[in-house]
Amino acid sequence: MTSPLEQKKIRITGPSVVTANRTWDGAVIWRTAAHGWSAELADAAVVRTSDEARALLAESVADDVGAIGAYIAPVEIKNSGAIKPGNLREHIRAEGLTIDLSVPA
């Protein structure tokens, strides 16, 4: 999973979303079509072209108070229309740890 921190050029090859962490608590969030943020991937605005991705990222980055580290992440759109993370890194961010802990997470 190449770190999004190394994301330099924006060129998407499939459906994508913009994700970040919420500033006050660091929680994972996604940019919505209503120009806000949601803690649910299901609410994310899905873009399909590089131009759309660039525009969505630009408005996301502009919200420096609400979110940090915004980047474009791949998603899969299921036949049902459900949005699913497009790689393991994003799966872990969306669904949580893949490991057993001795305390409830």
């Binding site: 999973m1 921190l5 962490n21 608590d25 108070v65 872990i92 893949t98 490991i99 001795s102 305390v103």
Partner: protein, 551 residues
């Protein structure tokens, strides 16, 4: 234990106030993330996958029971009820909220704990032998010098904006438990032919993308000259270290590119100018620091008390004692290692309940003191041997008496892709699966000492290069793959391991490690030939053949 003076306490409290103001300004938008990032990093606050991660320093791995209880409090009050002990005598909290961080720091400051310089391009937490002050045969307690270095380097303006991070480690024992050869500066306290005490200074060790074993730059530096010599090294590094390329910015690259002779010459010239300056550590200064360390008043106790003789009939106790109890410099006492590597557990994690319970046991059986080792285990450093049976039962009850210290399931692992924003692959699930594969203690004992180290990316926080078996997670076309090295070691004979062949898939790693271990058992000449010695004798080829013949 070291008792902070008024200056230390003031410094820590002022730092909390300063950071509280910085956080407030960040949350209000007065500071941008670009402006704030360096400030938070200098207070140990990273942004990881799910949340902020808060790294707290445990200087030279020494904690009081009161401090451990406070760490438990932070885990419970501000996090999700657990913490992760790292490979550099720090503890990390994985779910902390930025808005609550100043309160967490304030709570920690009340017991003399801070997070200063646990990140950023400055001198990091000074680490040391976790058995400092109690190890038999030690020249002197290395924590005195660690503390002097901590005081000198903390917030030192010349060391606060180095080309890259900078790590010290110190040992005073013949057997290196502090991994000094893989630090930017490694210091080995020893005596010269005249009987004087001083330091062998190593420089340019490190892991990460380009691993190097540290080289001896000066075989003997008197204690009085320690600060001036170290400063000379840092000045040369500050002047010539690469700031244009993050991958070439560590001192190890500078030492490698200049060559140790040329680097040493530059340091020597710098040192001659500052050697007899205010940096001279006169004995009174050293004594002042020494006097602030308190040591237990030990009783005169038998080496083999009745309690121990009686417990020796219990095979489970004996198995634990032989594995996790180590000689102490004082007769009648022992060092007890607490394994944070339960079968199926994340290496180095401890719950708040475990931390509280360990703090209580430290009060009862170890003069209120706990140690943290770079192997991600804890230790009680002053346990009367008569108390071992009852202590064992208490440790077992809270899950920290797994008798696997230094064995195949005592795995060092970074947080990996489950937590870390830099990781390419997961580390913890690999470690968990391996602990299940090697859960049988008889098998683990048969295998003997074997260190497995796992890193989820090339930054090598799991020190995979110096694992007897090293596992490095990489990404190939979106999938997790793992490179396997063997023959590394982090002790006084430190070496970087050798890659055995192409990376293997996530699901194959445990099978590959089992194959390597089985090959070792077949190849060793006698039961006490350690894995790493067999690799040294035979090279990697027989292991490579075993692993790849059928893959």
């Amino acid at each position: 234990m070291y008792a902070y003076d008024e200056l230390d306490r003031t410094l820590i409290n002022e730092r909390v106030s300063e950071f509280r103001d910085q956080v407030k300004r960040r949350l209000s938008g007065e500071l941008t993330e670009d402006e704030f990032k360096m400030l938070r990093l200098q207070n140990g606050v990273y942004l990881q996958l799910h949340a902020y991660m808060f790294r707290v320093a445990i200087p030279y791995g020494t904690l009081s029971s009161e401090q451990l209880r406070r760490l438990a409090h932070v885990a419970r009050r501000y996090d999700r009820g657990y913490g992760h002990f790292t490979t550099r005598q720090n503890i990390q909290f994985n779910w902390i909220k930025l808005a609550e961080l100043p309160d967490a720091l304030s709570d920690l400051a009340e017991v003399g704990i801070h997070a200063m310089q646990t990140s950023g391009n400055n001198t990091r937490n000074v680490t040391s032998d976790q058995w400092a002050g109690v190890a038999p045969g030690e020249i002197e307690d290395p924590r005195i010098w660690s503390e002097l270095l901590r005081q000198y380097t903390t917030l030192h303006p010349e060391f606060s904006f180095l080309p890259r991070k900078f790590k010290f480690a110190i040992t005073a024992s013949a057997h290196d438990r502090a991994a000094i050869k893989v630090h930017d500066i490694g210091l080995r306290l020893h005596r010269n032919a005249e009987g004087e005490t001083g330091f062998e200074v190593l420089v340019g060790g490190g892991l990460g993308r380009t691993p190097f074993i540290g080289k001896t730059i000066k075989p003997f530096v008197l204690g009085r000259d320690l600060l001036s010599y170290v400063e000379a090294i840092l000045r040369v590094y500050n002047q010539y270290g690469r700031r244009d390329n993050i991958y070439k910015a560590r001192i190890k690259i500078l030492v490698h590119e200049l060559g140790i002779e040329k680097f040493a010459q530059e340091v020597e010239e710098e040192w001659l100018q500052i050697r007899d300056s205010a940096l001279v550590l006169d004995e009174a200064v050293v004594e002042e620091v020494r006097s602030r360390f308190s040591y237990p008043v030990y009783e005169k106790l038998p080496h083999m008390p009745d309690e121990l003789k009686k417990a020796a009939h219990d095979p489970l106790f004996e198995r634990w004692r032989k594995n996790s109890v180590f000689p102490h410099k004082v007769p009648g006492y022992a060092i007890v290692v607490l394994s944070l590597k339960p079968v199926g557990g994340p290496p180095g994690d401890a719950t708040a309940e475990q931390m509280d319970a360990i703090a209580d046991l430290a009060d009862k059986y170890s003069f209120g003191e706990i140690r943290v080792g770079h192997e991600q285990n804890l230790a009680l450093p002053h346990v009367a041997r008569r108390d071992l049976p009852v202590l064992w039962q208490a440790l077992d009850k809270i899950g920290v008496a797994t008798p696997n210290v230094n064995l195949v399931s005592d795995i060092i692992a970074c947080p990996g892709l489950d937590y870390c924003s830099l990781a390419n692959a997961r580390s913890i699930p690999i470690a968990q699966e391996l602990t299940r594969r090697f859960a049988n203690h008889d098998t683990a004992n048969l295998i003997g000492r074997l260190h497995i180290n796992i890193s989820g990316c090339i930054n090598a926080c799991g020190h995979h290069h110096v694992g007897h078996i090293g596992i490095l997670g990489v990404e190939k076309n979106g999938d997790e793959f793992y490179q396997i090295t063997i023959g590394g070691r982090a002790d006084e004979n430190a070496e970087v391991g050798t890659l055995i062949g192409p990376a293997v898939k996530y699901g194959e790693v445990a099978d590959v490690i089992e194959d390597i271990v089985e090959a070792y058992l077949a190849l060793r000449t006698r039961p006490d030939e350690l894995f790493v010695d067999t690799v040294k004798r035979l090279g990697v080829e027989p292991f490579r053949e075993r692993v790849y013949a059928t893959r």
